[in-house]
Symmetry: C2
Subunit: 365 residues, 2 copies
Amino acid sequence: MNLDSYLGDFAERDWQTDAEGTVRVALLGLGEFACDHVLPALEGDAATDRTRFCEVSALVSGSPEKAESVAGEYGIGATLTYDEFEAGDGVDAFDAVYVAGPNALHLDYARTAADHGKHVLCEKPIEVNADRAREMVRACEAAGVTLMVGYRPQVEPAHRRLREMVRDGLLGDPVAFHGWFTGHILAAGGEDQWRLDPDLAGGGATMDVGVYPLNAARFLLDADPIAAQATTSAPDAAFEGLDEHVAFQLEFPGGTTASCTASYNAQGDDRLRLVGTEGQVELNPAFDSEIQPTLDVEIGDERAEYTGSYVNEVAEEFDYFAHCVLTGADPEPDGRDSVADMEAVEAVYESAETGRRVEVGDVGV
Amino acid sequence: MNLDSYLGDFAERDWQTDAEGTVRVALLGLGEFACDHVLPALEGDAATDRTRFCEVSALVSGSPEKAESVAGEYGIGATLTYDEFEAGDGVDAFDAVYVAGPNALHLDYARTAADHGKHVLCEKPIEVNADRAREMVRACEAAGVTLMVGYRPQVEPAHRRLREMVRDGLLGDPVAFHGWFTGHILAAGGEDQWRLDPDLAGGGATMDVGVYPLNAARFLLDADPIAAQATTSAPDAAFEGLDEHVAFQLEFPGGTTASCTASYNAQGDDRLRLVGTEGQVELNPAFDSEIQPTLDVEIGDERAEYTGSYVNEVAEEFDYFAHCVLTGADPEPDGRDSVADMEAVEAVYESAETGRRVEVGDVGV
């Protein structure tokens, strides 16, 4: 096998053109991810600012004090309340909006952004179900703005190189995918977080972390699942009404399967394996943010292990989004991609509830 | 964590007493596993003979020439045809019978052995379904002979150490097991092998290699699954009527899940992972014969990797069986253990066929 052709320019941005420009982004909400990951990647000092095509130009927050403080720290010109954002005050300060926070609020924020003619980068999962995901797609299409969903792995070099190998048949025919993403959300965010509110979150581990292996399986296999089978459980009372743990199995056209595990309350880990008729790969870690994954490839009797140079995934994600806006390209993790995820998530939940193999609904918007 | 207490005497036989004696074993069939693995482990020169409690004293084969040749090579006193074995001729030459070959013939051979008052070590899977497994259990119980099924991993030190860790709660509560066993059986055994005959094999990848992660999940979790969901496929015509690939998911009491993949036609690999609320382990390789597994353990922020000294699993398996015969102990992988596997296998096949979550049948004999 000639892995050099796949791994030689491991971290190269295969999507980048000679386009130039800067997309001004408003951050909606100043949660942990925005403050600890997004702001340093876009507005940090030379050591941490790794974006080329975007900048944070406005902060939208329910806490004016916090917004002022953060704006001062990073030299950001505009701060808005949610009411001002809703009313369209100060919207000349930005070209695009990063929508994070509770899943059930994503649609309203994205629709407001689209109404103001702003492009949308929406955190995963796109919303709480497929119908609301479709509404977001339609709103952005009607307004003619770009909609991308924040599946970092799709712009992570190791995932992209791995997809090329699968596409080119290096593993033979894909047979089985295994993926898992587990961790302790109570330790990370306490008992007072929106992820524990079924109405705001729309679901538990499947919705929040299970979508990573689900989306990765679809990305790497370049296909949508046709059916899902699943088992969920919530032995800990803190997760009442939610899936604390989930194991789900997806069937793809041709019989390829994806066996995925996600948990809100287990030893933290995230990795994926893909076994084909002629080879297999493991990617570890695979889904957490700001990782430096190792790709372990076996083709027949040959084996190679490759760790690319460090890439700030958040910077990649925002720059890829901004580049799509600048060039008018449709992002790969677009709204329809997330409608497909949500259809699969709904099938997973229905299967866990009914004990039946549930066909995954049509992705049409 | 104090892993030393679990891993210090890694390869020690925790089942061995001060019992002494030698169980004389007749090998039924001289296939590849018997010739390349069993005979060297029991009757090889000093470098390969690693058993203490047993010896091969008779060979039963449909080919007298091959039997004579092999007997001469290893200095084995008795050779019998299947008719002689059936009729009870020359049965004084052995105390126990190792039953291998086509799954659908195991019951008849084991019943004959039991009728002659001989103990039985039967290859996995025990038979082609749970009812025939039960018949074997009853026949051996009625004759008062020991019945063990050849699940090598249950006597493999790494599996036993890992079970102790799980039992003692080092991983917290078990959340999810992942296991797979894949390979190319056509490359290994050609197109003219009993594994490709649905009547003789009773099933495909699930039956032959899927039972390894299935049995390991039951062994490590010390529990029987309550339900199964599964997807099978056979894209290659060579596997018509069989499951070439299978992905199955088992649900255990309390919600612990096992996601398993097995294949007759994929890159060869065998390993397992177990994730708990407080830790996780990976065992690699986990199921192939004569392995030297590495146990990778993470408890919270601590991580340890341990590779035990090489252990010949076949010798461990036969010596454990012989030790059970000598001491009158019931083997852990006994007939009832395999009835439980067969009930789960039947649920897997029924789920793949019907698309429903299928409850695993009662294990009662």
